[in-house]
Symmetry: C2
Subunit: 744 residues, 2 copies
């Protein structure tokens, strides 16, 4: 490919590839200058690529076809394990939550028959105990397990490692914490935490267990590079979504759209497999539970709010109210994001500074408030156990009659969840319920009742829905950010379906058509609120379709999502992006800001200092450089025959530490060795550099070097990470960002 | 970001970014050395990035925020137009095919009542006429419209421009050609061509109409860079799938998984919007057609083989036969790919060399064969018009009774399409039909009939299904590669569902369970054959779910696809990859070959010649270089103060041609000008370089230069394309490929 006269230029070019100082790290810092992010000291960037130094290439050259096959086989085996593990974790969480909640409801109801106040107290106390257990676990044992975990996972898959988020203790905290917080009736869901759980399981499997607790096995440690581990975490993340919503395709798309920034088609294939395994595991577990093996109340509890019997068709005049739902969703979603930012910032700056004790008090207080409200609202109407299956009665129980948590139903149960201590899943099922015309009392009045009754019913109904909406929204905002594992999906669906149903009622009233289903509007409302808050498109759309099991509404969901995302984007960023920013996780923006058009790479990083190393460096210098700063990568420069300085690659701190620790590549003279000259040059195996935990755990102060060692030299050339990327300093930031987006 | 001692190295690095000679082009050639691709002379690679030279940056700096907004608005407006255009094209094709086929069936049936032979002849002649019209259009008017077009579009979106594939005449040929070929009853579908149609519409809109036919408007020409046009074509491609299958999410995923190699989240959002628009347009058109506005027979004809009433649940012992279906699908799919390679190669080397006349004869011959077979098979049984809706009869008509193409039904119509001149859609609907137990004769025999009858029925049934399968398969193979627009989706579904149904029958027989639906097995068979042949995963899965409107089978479809793709991959590549290779379209492989592990970039391109230019070049030299070769990109080298040669960027042939044509940047001295010194250096606007058609249409021989001009010089520096990529010559090919995959 080279003509002769060109050879020389190529030779020079070869020496000058570089990545200054680490593309993702450096440039994110640069971008950070423009934004208001801060306290990012704790994050660490991952190696996005395999370090292809001479040692690595030697190891690769020795590998046979068999080893490659073994490696591929292992990857698929791990995908299988992740699927099974996440599936079982999801089943465990679901069954526990269902059983706790069911037991709680049944006990409360027994007592309520005798004394209302005692029942209320018991209810509040049980909830308090559950929430306390959750917040105690989080604050004392696994602080990284608080919140939904999705911003952190998103950060991880975009190349930022936040210490602690993928540890075994985080996994345990997440699982038991979310059982407590969801079972305790707080306005939060178990879906976000399940995504984090899946990611933790994947990461732990990838590093062959937890090294800290000595539960690791050597033969499992096949995945040494950050890239392999990132792939596993992607699988885990998709598995989490697949398990949480029973939406396997939604899981794949969620991982693709929302989480990873770099996607390879081979990986898609593996993620798809993991999701399919999860679907099979969850289905098997549900079949097993149906025969009563999972306790009285554990009938599965997996989200499927089947509305496949719903509205088949839509008329074009309905597109207007649907667009209105989209706009409302965008506005309310953006407002939700803004409010949670304020609340989180306030919590961070004032409340949580005072220590764990305050966090515990706070969660307990919110639990009491939530319990009181959910008990207070039903006072308006009397709740009664659902009558045994009586096809003549107009009341449909939210679940099959029997021994489930099915005690609570009133005349309007299908529309308003007066009895808020109905579990969340059942409440949503009611809101989505499609057959209002046929079986629910208010609609019957509407169609055939007298004018007087109709008006009264309607106003009571609207008022109740509005009350319910305000309550959900407020609770969701104040609960967000407490120190418990918390997902925003289910609260979002609750909020959205309430106002969706309201718009649906108005639409029915206005168009006076009987084939309009309010349940459809509730579903669209839920989609719009989630779209307006989380700003996902394809994945959210598929998840909504998969959980409602109704494909016919797909175009409508798409349009509503488009509108709500567009409206929301006019105000602020998505929930996860905002939260990631608040937590100091730098994420590469999806679109360069307008100001960046005229900025160059040089301007973006004017104040940043880069420390470089010469090709052959004195050990004492290395030690002092490593001690003086916290950089993780150092460009290495060399001189050409003409004395010109050239960047020849990047040296990682972790690799320097391994070199210093092992001392075998030290040399006496400051002359460069020839790495291609054979084994004399490189006495290291690549695998020594690639142990992710051990090499990253050591600090420069742990390494003891004799004064003789300090006088020696190291030739860094064989250990450098060459890279095909050079960002010229006058390249525009727009291009730098689009380049980073496509590669990282 | 730079410490002082490092400044100098950075300065040098800045000068040395390069792309040698064009990353995608050069390396694809390199990879090509290892494979057996040939005759690649006709393809041209696209510019994957915006050329960020000084002229471009000056133009960018002048642009206000308003212009950016206008640009974004235009992109969305074009997405809307593409959605509407593709939707209407799909509706037009569907209605035409339905009307032609319906009219054909009704005429044949009228005549068949009097004379069987005359009916047969009329049928053959009508088919012949339709196929002749199609092949005539293709051979005489739009040769690029032959075949499915998906390999070409895939190539385009991977950076390879094949002349002619996105022209107006191709669009017209595709639309009318596929009406003829599908209406003429050949064993092919209209789905692939619809994808190509969508892409053509997008491309034509993007360049503001067809310049050749002077149907272009200036204000539409907002999209000058290849990247913008590629984004539009991606939207068009997704719109085509969305329209063909009424699968909006499937369309997005198809574009994502199968077609584009580089994907930006902003684009996903726009593609999603386009698909939603298509869904709304198609639905509106179908609503309009339902009221009888689209002719007697045009009831829509869009694929939705609704099996939502099918099997709800599956038992674990059923997973074995389903896995068997997956394996069969993989084997048969790989065999299909291999056979089509042989057939296509034979056609290419022997048959089609003899000119268009042979192509026409060939297509007509295949049409006659297909017609005779579809008429011959039903001779075994008598076909009769479907009786008017009689709920007591055990025969269910494939369509609502009335005036549609519903004349053909026999006792076993639900399972075997004896009456093959049933249209394809109806045949598949029958194969997928779920309610076999309740309404179809053979199953009734099975359940309640005597031993004797059962055995007879069963053997007839099996034999017929097997016959049908062999026939479909043979016809699909010989039809593939004729000079008509041809999709492989529908034939694949026909083949797959036939053997799927066979396996289903065996399973029912073996497990003796009544809740097993053969329709489910037919669907899984279809999925497995498509998976084994096309090797798609997520997108195919979503498309299958969307067209059958049954979400509950999702995990099963996923597992079957996984197995069939894995089995197929053991034998050969996917259908589109193989066809792309046969057509000489270089595609970047998804996984580097094993041999490449030890190869370096230098070894891969050892025999390729690169022609470079100095920074300041004499016009006469440029002309002679441009005349002497067909390269589209030239690296430009410069000398440092020390006399060392450095690559400073890449110059495109098209830009050189614009420079030569306009002559305004010529200078008398061979000294470099300072591009940052102001307007004196660059007198060109970037927009002059960016007119895609005009600048690419001119050849060096069209430019007339005086002898004075030839003695002048040009400084190329302001027009260079800098690039952040340098591929060091000793980088391993594995890394080069993974790098190319993520960026291009």
């Amino acid at each position: 490919m080279l003509s002769n006269r060109f050879q020389n230029g190529m030779e020079t070019a070869r020496l000058v590839w570089s990545r200054l100082p680490r593309s993702e790290e450096g440039d994110l810092d640069g971008v950070g200058l423009l934004s208001t992010t801060s306290n990012r000291n704790c994050v660490e960037s991952l190696d996005y690529e395999v370090i292809e130094n001479y040692a690595y290439r030697e190891e690769q050259a020795q590998r046979g076809k068999l080893f490659v096959g073994y490696n591929v086989g292992m990857k698929w085996f791990f995908a299988l394990l992740i699927g099974i593990g996440t599936g079982f974790a999801a089943v465990f969480i679901n069954i526990s939550v269902e059983n706790f909640a069911g037991w709680k409801f049944s006990l409360t109801f027994k007592i309520i028959q005798k004394s209302y106040l005692a029942g209320c107290l018991i209810y509040i106390l049980i909830n308090l105990a559950l929430v306390f257990s959750s917040v105690y676990i989080i604050t004392q044992f696994a602080p990284a397990a608080a919140g939904s975990g999705i911003p952190e996972i998103k950060g991880y898959l975009n190349g930022i490692d936040i210490p602690g988020i993928l540890l075994l203790r985080t996994l345990i905290g997440k699982i038991f914490g979310s059982i407590g917080s969801v079972g305790g009736g707080l306005a939060l869901g178990k879906e976000g935490p399940l995504v984090h759980t899946g990611a933790c399981i994947a990461s732990l499997l990838g590093q062959g267990g937890s090294t800290k607790y000595h539960i690791s096995s050597r033969w499992l440690q096949g995945f040494k590079s950050d890239r392999d581990r990132r792939d596993l975490v992607t699988c885990g993340c998709a598995a989490g979504v697949a398990a949480a919503f029973r939406a396997p395709v939604g899981g794949v798309l969620f991982a693709l759209e929302e989480v990873t920034s770099w996607w390879r088609s081979q990986l898609m294939w593996r993620v798809f497999f993991t999701s399919a395994i999860v679907a099979v595991v969850v289905r098997a577990a549900m079949g097993w539970c149906k025969s009563g093996n999972c306790g009285h109340f554990g009938s599965g509890g997996f989200i499927i709010w089947d509305i496949s019997g719903g509205q088949e068709d839509y008329s074009f005049e309905e597109l207007l109210p649907m667009a209105v739902i989209g706009v409302i969703g965008g506005l309310l979603g953006a407002l939700f994001n803004q409010l949670t930012i304020y609340v989180t910032r306030w919590r961070r700056n004032y409340l949580h500074k005072k220590g764990n004790r305050v966090k515990i008090y706070e969660a307990c207080l919110i639990s009491v408030i939530t319990s009181v409200i959910s008990f207070g609202l039903p006072l308006l109407r009397k709740c009664s156990p659902c009558p045994d299956s009586d096809p003549a009665s107009e009341i449909e129980c939210p679940r099959a009659p029997g021994m489930y948590g099915n005690y609570v139903n009133v005349r309007y149960a299908h529309i308003v969840n007066y009895c808020l201590f109905l579990s969340q899943d059942d409440a949503i099922r009611n809101l989505f319920s499609a057959k209002t015309i046929h079986d629910s009392a208010p609609k019957a009045f509407w169609v055939g009742g007298t004018q007087h009754i109709r008006r009264e019913t309607s106003s009571i109904l609207l008022l109740s829905l509005a009350k319910q909406y305000v309550m959900f929204y407020t609770l969701a905002v104040i609960t967000f950010g407490t120190a418990v594992p918390a997902g925003q999906f289910v609260p979002g669906i609750m909020i959205g379906s309430t106002y969706g149903r309201l718009v649906g009622i108005f639409t029915v009233n206005h168009y006076k058509k009987l084939n309009i289903e309010e349940g459809t509007y509730a579903l669209l409302g839920a989609a719009s609120f989630l779209g307006g808050s989380m700003r996902m498109t394809v994945s959210l759309c598929v998840i909504m379709v998969e959980i409602t099991n109704n494909l016919k509404l797909l175009p409508l969901i798409m349009l509503v999502l488009l509108i709500s995302k567009a409206v929301g984007d006019a105000f602020n960023e998505g929930l996860y992006e905002e939260q990631a920013r608040l937590r100091g996780i730098p994420l590469l923006e999806s679109r360069p800001k307008y100001e960046m058009r005229k900025m160059t790479a040089k301007e973006a990083c004017r104040n940043q200092k880069v420390l470089s190393l010469p090709r052959v460096v004195k050990v004492a210098d290395v030690v002092s450089i490593l001690q003086s700063n916290k950089h993780n990568g150092f460009p290495v420069i060399d001189h050409t025959r003409n004395g010109e300085t050239l960047v020849i690659g990047l040296m990682l701190r972790s690799h320097l530490l391994v070199l210093l620790q092992s001392k075998i590549d030290f040399q006496h003279s400051p002359l460069p060795c020839d790495p291609r000259g054979g084994s004399q040059g490189i006495r290291h195996n690549f695998s020594e550099f690639a142990k992710p935990v051990s090499s990253k755990g050591i600090s420069i102060n742990d390494i003891h070097l004799s004064s003789d060692d300090l006088e020696m030299y190291i030739d860094l050339a064989p250990f450098l990470n060459p890279s095909p990327y050079v960002v010229p300093e006058d390249m525009s930031l727009t291009k730098v960002i689009s380049f980073l987006q496509c590669c990282f």
